[in-house]
Symmetry: C2
Subunit: 450 residues, 2 copies
């Protein structure tokens, strides 16, 4: 091999199939050739481009009969809650939260549970096409560790909540800064950030303090906003204004704030979010199951707000399959607004990819398949009866595909799942660990709360 | 082998795992033993019952790490419409119907297309856990043929529609009687029935005539009712009453009438349906995607109406996965009614099994796993990350499972899918046929309709 060829040797070459780039032009390339080197996308071209033949690669993936697309971005999760999946469903919201989830969290959440739960959740996400998630929970360092161990990209938010007792601002500022400093050095897979649980569970001082730390460190600030009608009533009662106005007046809304849910917004609150360039994470299945509400997403998008998709935690969804979340998003708003033209398939796929990247401030790094971006790529097998025939790739992916159609997953140029096998995760051990944890929860839970 | 043993030899013995019987008592049996002989369930018992050891079987299925449950029942389909899957989405309803679906049907529907489409749809259904469907379309004999060829149980409804021209009642009565006579002799897999498209596309004479034929032959009468607000307006304008009252006054409502959709009902119409013992097929995903509406299912169930689940055709869903339909059903009504306790997981699983059987008048033959019923059984692999941990089988199946978790499917005591392989269907040939048809549609459709 001569010098030129050696320099051009790629880590991975993907060829064949159909490429959805999800670039601004939404370019679709049949029979593409995609070169990957040093974790990034080196080039994207068609098979008839002579330049493509100059390259050799350590590994060649044949994607014929498949769709190649950016990995999906789950903008709102609480991964360790997989340990509570199915524990308490079909209950009134406050009963669910106060008598089941909060007590279970108080008793069973610890570092080991968080790590085991996060590993299981990451396995589920990789197997269903997600390559980046944004998580907030207790012991978030264990979530970061799980992401590293499984090769997943993650925005990890150290979470803060004042219930039952208010935190000492100096102390939480220390914790927040410590968390960011620790994980900012990790490398491109881990992006540290901060989260305040919500306007109704955090004191105004906490909301401000944490935002100031986040602002100084130039990291995301993640918060649940107006998830339920009750929350709006509570905030109005306490502070005499609606949640978005309250948060704006606290000066915590800016382009690095991610507001999850936003189910109950007045029109002028939508404009405030837009004017502050706040990003929104839409979690339809969770808000359906909890009967929390349905966010006015078509209006937000029309007004210019950037919206990504999320699954929320598994106690309220109860799965992490972003394909299902896309299908639900596309269908739900049509019937809520009685308009079959809203939330078309292309828009929904953008929400789950490039717009999700924008929500997390990572649009220059992930979210589309373009040279220079990290190679976060999934290959979806479309040689299946439920994906036949194929008139429209976007429709098929949003309305008919499911996570189990993903056959290969690449994160940062590393193949982490191939032919449905996880390559860097010991799945039987993880499932065994979570089953043990769930057995403890089930035994004690029945005795105490049941 | 002695005489006793020989007499006791079963065709199939299933052992291990967890059995959801879906019997009236909703009995759940851990480590069950299920005997199947001559297409029927011979016995159901626990592994500790000595009697279970007396049996030998030609085939033994080990279901450990799995849930064994009745096959799902899809109470409303138009199978050949898989050929239009993804052809025209995200469009206004009347544009979709009048400018895309009806013209495509007029040009491309023929016997071969119906057979090929039905075969593909059946493959998708088997792979996602459905063992019985109720279909209405043109050339319905080709759907019946496809069901027989693939080993699927089917209620096949010869469809009638007066658009664009009214039919001659004598002629359609002949067609209807001929269809029933032909297929009533077929055997237990095929149950013939009749369908009138809707109150707004059939003349009152047609609605009555076909019902009379159905009544005489003691077969089901399948009809779309109050799917859209527009339909209610049209029927009010034409006949001075709402659709259900109109149909009642025509005397077409009784316990063998299956009304699909029922999205727009006044309170007294719900009572009419209940009093006439009409069965309802609920198709939430289709009605969401078309922005047709959301049926008041929790109220119907409370008032005593038997409701089953259906997917509708693939032009409006766009898949046939009853697991996804269950998940959507459980979540949708909660947010519509702002009540997280409605449509709990058990209720939804009943709708997809035993209540679906009741809708089709087949509750003595299918819908639960009990001795004497046909052996229509699926085995769901729960050794998966998204189905871990397992606190509650019903929750897990409804909120987290998807069709691709089904690993084995048995219909009438015959194994038709095992380890995700279809045993009696040549899937590549079917997919090839449908792709050819879709190519013709795509080519001509673009030229003519754009």
């Amino acid at each position: 091999m001569d010098k030129l060829m050696e320099n051009n040797e790629l880590d991975i070459l993907i060829e064949g199939g159909t490429l959805l780039t999800m670039s601004d032009a939404l370019e679709v390339i049949d029979h593409p050739v995609i070169g990957i080197k040093n974790g990034k996308i080196e080039f994207v071209t068609g098979k008839d481009n002579d330049g493509a033949n100059l390259y050799t690669a350590k590994k060649v993936l044949n994607a014929s009969g498949s769709i190649i697309m950016p990995g999906l971005i789950n903008t709102h999760t609480h991964l360790p809650m997989v340990c509570f999946r199915g524990l308490a469903d079909d209950l009134p919201l406050m009963d669910w939260l106060n008598n089941h989830i909060f007590p279970a969290e108080a008793r069973f959440v610890n570092r080991d549970m968080v790590y085991a739960g996060a590993m299981l959740a990451i396995a589920e996400m990789i197997l269903s096409g997600t390559t980046t998630f944004c998580d907030a929970y207790f012991y978030e360092s264990s979530v970061a560790r799980a992401a590293i161990d499984s090769g997943m990209r993650a925005v990890v938010c150290q979470g803060f909540i004042d219930l039952p007792n208010p935190n000492d601002p100096v102390k939480i500022a220390d914790i927040a800064e410590g968390f960011i400093n620790k994980w900012q050095k990790e490398g491109p897979l881990i992006i540290p950030a901060l989260a305040c649980h919500s306007p109704y569970t955090c004191a105004p001082e906490t909301l401000s303090f944490i935002k100031n730390v986040a602002r100084k460190a130039e990291v995301l600030y993640n918060i649940h906003v107006s998830e339920t009608k009750d929350e709006v009533v509570i905030i109005r009662k306490r502070f005499g204004k609606t949640p978005v106005k309250y948060l704006r007046d606290l000066d915590v809304l800016d382009d690095r704030t991610v507001a999850a849910h936003c189910n109950w917004l007045e029109d002028d609150e939508i404009e405030i979010l837009r004017d502050c360039n706040v990003k929104v994470s839409h979690n339809p299945e969770s808000s359906m199951k909890l009967a929390a509400g349905c966010a006015p997403i078509p209006i937000m998008i029309k007004k210019g707000i950037t919206v990504g998709l999320g699954t929320d935690g598994c106690a309220s969804n109860n799965d992490l399959d972003m394909f299902r979340e896309m299908g639900t998003t596309a269908r739900l708003h049509k019937v809520i607004r009685m308009d079959p033209t809203v939330m078309d398939a292309k828009m929904v796929l953008k929400m789950a990819t490039i717009n999700g990247a924008r929500v997390l401030g990572l649009e220059n790094r992930i979210g589309s398949i373009e040279p220079g971006k990290f190679a976060d790529i999934i290959i979806v097998d479309i040689k299946k009866p439920h994906l036949t025939p194929m008139y429209n790739c976007y429709s098929q992916l949003v309305y008919s595909a499911s996570g189990s159609d993903v056959k290969t997953s690449i994160i940062g140029g590393r193949i982490i799942m191939h032919e449905r096998e996880l390559l860097h995760v010991d799945l039987p051990s993880i499932m065994y660990e979570v089953k043990k944890i769930s057995q403890t929860i089930a035994d004690q839970y029945t005795v105490s709360g049941g």
